[in-house]
């Protein structure tokens, strides 16, 4: 706020949710250290006091993949450990409360896509993240549910971690390992290339875990809500949304693609205070 000609005027400067970047960096480094240490430990080295868990053990999606086998037989599929089920439970709890915060704040693959996306923003400016025709985009958004059904089905019927061979997340943190399939590396490469044009392409179109967590957007406790009374309808919130959700046309965001990044809120891009809020209550 500044005082000009005796009046207090709020000068708007677009802000970002910087704490989210800190949390993203933290989890990226944590997972990278765990994965590197796992490789070192397998080769007789590593840091003894640091976790030497495999990447599968600290991935909550493993809990989803093994769920059928676990319920049917009490067993976990190969390479999955109890920790995956625990993490899946924790992430589900967070999602019921706040939506897919895991996607927007924790998942290192989403973070890396955002980093690459910064390059796309510099190159394409306002055209960035608007290359895919809206009709096609709307259809492609449901592709990830197809991926989810396929992963759950083949994992249940084979009892093995089939998705590992196609998982760009596994490839990202194990590209130096012989365990990674070329198909996974190819999918990671395509994802990173597409990230120059589209924000979070893997999350939008293919991520099976994003599909699971996205469902919680329909009933989560805290939601993005817009006050129609104070909204200036400048569309800033919609432009800022990495998932292209038209926030400025809705009162409550129940879109299955929201990742709870808060970039559309009055704390960040919205120039009007208390207009786009992340709240459990209602807004006027």
């Amino acid at each position: 706020m500044v005082t000009l000609f005796g009046k207090r005027i709020r000068l708007f400067r677009p802000r970002s949710i910087w704490i989210r970047r800190v949390v993203q960096w933290f989890f990226f480094l944590l997972i990278a250290f765990i994965s590197i240490n796992h490789t070192l430990v397998e080769n007789g080295g590593g840091i003894s006091f640091f976790s030497s868990a495999s990447l599968h053990a600290v991935c909550p999606f493993g809990g989803v993949e093994t769920l059928y086998t676990f319920l049917a037989s009490g067993l976990l599929i190969k390479k999955i450990h109890d920790a995956s089920l625990v993490l899946a439970g924790i992430v589900l709890l967070l999602s019921i409360l706040f939506g897919p915060v895991f996607c927007g704040w924790v998942c290192p693959l989403g973070t890396v896509q955002e980093w690459v996306g910064k390059l796309g923003k510099k190159i394409f400016k306002r055209r960035y993240n608007h290359f895919v025709p809206a009709k096609l985009d709307n259809v492609l958004r449901y592709l990830r549910y197809g991926v989810l059904v396929w992963v759950v089905y083949v994992t249940a019927t084979t009892g093995t971690l089939i998705f590992e061979a196609y998982d760009p997340y596994f490839a990202l943190f194990n590209f130096w390992s012989t365990e990674v399939a070329w198909s996974a590396i190819a999918i990671l490469a395509v994802t990173l290339i597409l990230s120059v044009f589209v924000e979070r392409p893997w999350c939008k179109y293919a991520c099976p875990y994003g599909a699971v967590l996205g469902i919680t957007n329909l009933f989560r406790v805290f939601s993005i809500k817009r006050s129609e009374l104070t909204c200036k309808a400048d569309g800033a919130c919609s432009i800022m949304c990495p998932m292209n959700i038209p926030v400025d046309t809705k009162k409550t965001i129940r879109d299955h693609q929201c990742i709870s990044c808060l970039e559309c809120t009055s704390e960040a891009i919205c120039p009007v205070a208390k207009t786009v809020l992340f709240t459990s209550g209602g807004v006027k």
Partner: protein, 252 residues
């Protein structure tokens, strides 16, 4: 209640790491295998270790601690000739048999252990291959049900003339062929120095006939006829014609 970014960040971190700490305290947090398979919870085998929970990270030694099968038998079954079979990790099998055309790995070990001990194992809808050497041991043990024998016949892979596997790179040269596609030519029914008692059983030579010819109970199925003859002061060339005659009777 309205939430801003900083409390949300704190909650995310607290819930994740608090959840991990809580689950550790409750004994639920495990990022590595305990090397102790879960047990059957119901039925005739309740309380016994379940072979279906054997992991790739287990060594043959780990398996022998939970199941009544020695590392040496497992090594024979999967053609591993390392000096310390107890230290051999199950997940290495996938590398060793990588070029085999069929998958022989952790699931194969699970099946072998279950059949060897006589524990239930669900193979419904699964194509689990075993090497010929493993099938020989199981058939010679003689405790399989007709359905299990039929399953083995369908999903047994035979190694060629290659030497037993010791290193992954040398194993790649050994190409198992699915039993159903490999030809059961008359060549395979010729008794050679390398022919094992397990192979004779697999061909269909009755155990009692073999025992009658060799004058002793059936030895270890992985033992060659020639080695048996040497060990017992017998002449291989004397045993060979009699066994060959029986092999010729069952030759397709």
């Amino acid at each position: 209640m309205t939430m801003t970014s900083k409390p949300l960040a704190a909650i995310v971190l607290v819930v994740i790491f608090g959840g991990i700490l809580f689950s550790s305290a409750m004994g639920w947090w495990a990022t590595t295998s305990t090397k102790e398979p879960v047990t059957f919870t119901e039925g005739e085998f309740a309380g016994e270790a379940n072979p279906a929970d054997i992991r790739g990270s287990y060594t043959f030694g780990d398996i022998s601690k939970s199941f009544d099968v020695t590392p040496e038998v497992l090594a024979q079954a999967f053609d591993i000739t390392e000096s310390d079979p107890a230290a051999f990790a199950v997940k290495e099998l996938e590398t060793i048999y990588a070029d085999s055309g069929v998958e022989i790995g952790t699931t194969s070990v699970r099946l072998f252990v279950a059949y060897y001990i006589g524990l239930p194992f669900d193979t419904t809808g699964q194509e689990i291959y075993l090497p010929q050497s493993a099938a020989d041991i199981l058939l010679a043990k003689g405790n399989l049900t007709p359905e299990q024998v039929a399953y083995l016949e369908q999903y047994t892979a035979t190694l060629g003339e290659s030497a037993p596997v010791t290193e992954p790179q040398s194993a790649a040269e050994a190409t198992p062929i699915p039993a159903e596609t490999s030809s059961t030519t008359s060549e395979e029914y010729i008794i050679k120095g390398k022919t094992t008692f397990g192979e004779l059983i697999t061909w269909g030579v009755p155990q009692e006939v073999i025992e009658q010819i060799i004058g002793a109970p059936l030895p270890d199925p992985a033992m060659t006829v020639k080695d048996f003859a040497s060990a017992n002061g017998l002449d291989f060339e004397t045993l060979k014609p009699a066994l060959q005659a029986e092999a010729d009777k069952v030759k397709p």
